[in-house]
């Protein structure tokens, strides 16, 4: 644009000189002034910053990563720049997912995969991230537009599809498997999946995909009354999967019967969603960059400012076949893993203490690791910490009926059944 305007100025200059009649000079001067004014405007217009090759720790105003790299100098994170190797998939780009995407983008995450089938609506404007001029765009397109402006270093992939349909699910799974971004990575093509969807059905689909791919993921949710939320870490085989037990929700702490449900299905607040997105991305950063304690479950009750936590063991009778497979694999490698963990602790203890804690141990007293006992059995309802309740009931136990012997006159052909229903419909 600047070059165009410069060329126009010189064209005007040439024109002025070639005109024998000076009576036009005044109007040409006026045009030249206008072009100069436009040139100044163009210079002040927002420009997208160019990509950065390496994350620098240099503290200058022009370095987008200086405050993040400072985490390293302060000893919080060992190697912050590793964040550029990581891929995170965000399913659901709504009130929580879009904010989580922006946070990760600003943190300089390597690659983001975004999934949603919805469009931006004016009704979304009570939440963060999307802007009124984006109404009508798909949420994925609008997100890519904003995120690529904020940080062009992040590789963005968007998928406008519904993951609960058979076709959508196939695309979802194959996109998670794609390893072109970092071919050397073990397992799937992503480091973490964040579920930011707003319904049980979609969560169960993310759970299904992650169990099949042995993919660690984090679940997030905000209640329909907008005053509570939660995040949960799910490691297939190691922690309870989303189908191991009916989902937990944070009790609102007010009498459920006083809640007015007439006429509406969902309320939402930018505050609750922002808090949950913040908790989710904080846990994500701790998990990816290996600092602090990664929460297995963290609830948020906004009315009482109460944050319940808990851990859940997987259910050996889980109805999800892939979950049970992952549990079996996890148990197989358990002895080796425990030995490695013990060796690590011993090595640390050895370097820390040069003399034995006690010279003699007449009674053979030993410290037993009780961390395994802290985990709650996922099916037991009474062991739930205060403030957490089940959202849905367990499936009733029922005996598998013996397969009835098909009598000769009972129809058991799919086409015949289809025709029978059609005949009924026509009548």
């Amino acid at each position: 644009m600047e070059a165009e305007l410069k060329a126009m100025l010189s064209d005007l200059e040439t024109l002025k000189r070639s005109l024998p009649d000076p009576s036009h000079h005044a109007s040409i001067d006026k045009m030249q002034l206008r072009v100069e004014h436009l040139t100044n405007l163009a210079k002040s217009a927002p420009v997208q910053r160019s990509k950065v090759k390496d994350m620098s720790a240099e503290v200058v105003d022009s370095n987008p990563y200086s405050r993040l790299m400072a985490l390293q100098r302060m000893g919080i994170v060992q190697n912050y720049e590793r964040i550029r190797e990581f891929s995170v998939a965000i399913v659901g780009i709504g009130g929580v997912g879009s904010v989580a995407a922006e946070m990760l983008t600003r943190c300089g995450i390597g690659r983001l995969l975004l999934y949603d089938y919805d469009k931006v609506e004016l009704a979304n404007m009570n939440r963060l991230f999307f802007r009124p001029e984006q109404v009508g765009m798909t949420k994925t397109d609008a997100a890519v537009q904003t995120l690529s402006d904020i940080n062009p270093d992040v590789v963005l992939e968007s998928y406008t599809l519904n993951i609960t349909t058979v076709q959508g699910f196939e695309t979802f799974v194959s996109s998670l498997k794609n390893k072109t971004f970092r071919p050397s990575k073990e397992g799937s093509g992503v480091d973490l999946v964040l579920s930011c969807v707003d319904n049980y059905e979609a969560r169960m689909v993310v759970n299904q995909a992650c169990n099949e791919l042995n993919q660690t993921w984090m679940e997030s949710g905000v209640s329909e009354d907008a005053v509570s939320g939660h995040i949960q870490l799910l490691i297939p085989g190691e922690t309870a999967c989303f189908a191991c037990a009916p989902p937990l929700v944070v009790a609102s702490g007010i009498d459920e019967r006083t809640l007015k449900r007439e006429g509406v299905c969902a309320a939402s607040l930018p505050t609750t969603m922002g808090v949950v997105a913040g908790l989710l991305v904080q846990n994500t950063l701790k998990y990816l960059l290996k600092f602090g304690h990664v929460s297995p479950y963290l609830g948020y009750n906004a009315l009482k400012d109460y944050f319940p936590t808990m851990e859940m063991k997987p259910n050996p009778q889980c109805s999800n076949v892939a979950c049970v497979d992952r549990q079996r694999e996890y148990l197989l490698v358990k002895p080796a893993r425990d030995a490695a963990a013990k060796a690590k602790i011993e090595a640390e203890a050895l370097s820390a203490t040069e003399f034995p804690l006690h010279d003699d141990n007449e009674w053979n007293i030993s410290v037993v690791d009780d961390s395994e006992l802290d985990k709650t059995d996922v099916r037991s309802l009474d062991a739930l910490p205060d403030g957490l309740v089940r959202e849905l009931p367990n499936a009733d136990e029922f005996q598998k009926l013996p397969v009835p012997l098909e009598t000769a006159n009972s129809i058991d052909d799919l086409d015949d059944l289809r025709r029978q229903l059609e005949a009924l419909s026509a009548g």
Partner: protein, 173 residues
């Protein structure tokens, strides 16, 4: 099942229960499940007809039986209101219920999610979860869609959000 009217309860007990826990990605087991679905729908439709309470038409929109389309209707003040009906069988079916859609009513009521998916959270989802995998499409229509229509159509008509098709025709002429 407390709080349900005796009619719905007795109808429900007559829809055959399903036994095979299989979804659209389960190959031959899904075909078996699909047969059970058809048997349930056939039993429910013929029961409705014999009780003079016929209120929907439905058929599989693809050979795999993963997408279903049809019509449903509700009579209010002696006038019949008819709507398109559609849903996909989710990959996690039957652990999760189909999300029934009435696309023509999208944006007309709060008791609906985007795309015209009816809100089933309170009255239906817990029942479905409790009875997995014995409930099928017929049960979802009987316990999910039927009570939704009974609750919402009168409100939609009385508030003027929907008009009977005859009224629409006369206003055009």
């Amino acid at each position: 099942m407390e709080g349900w009217d005796p009619n719905t309860k007795s109808t429900l007990t007559q829809i055959p229960l399903l036994s095979i826990k299989a979804g659209p990605r389960d190959g031959a087991a899904w075909t078996q499940r699909l047969k059970e679905e058809y048997k349930g729908l056939i039993a429910y439709t013929s029961m409705n007809k014999s009780n003079d309470n016929d209120w929907f038409r439905i058929s599989a929109a693809n050979p795999e039986g993963t997408r279903w389309t049809g019509k449903c209707w509700y009579v209010h003040n002696l006038l019949k209101y008819e709507f398109d009906l559609q849903f996909d069988i989710p990959v996690t079916y039957p652990s999760t219920a189909p999300e029934i859609e009435l696309p023509q009513l999208d944006g007309k009521t709060h008791k609906m999610y985007r795309g015209g998916k009816i809100c089933l959270t309170v009255h239906f989802k817990p029942l479905w979860a409790k009875n997995c995998p014995r409930f099928g499409i017929a049960h979802a229509l009987c316990l999910g869609l039927a009570p939704w229509l009974a609750a919402e159509v009168p409100i939609l008509v009385d508030s003027g959000m929907i008009k009977h098709k005859d009224d629409v025709a006369t206003s055009i002429l």
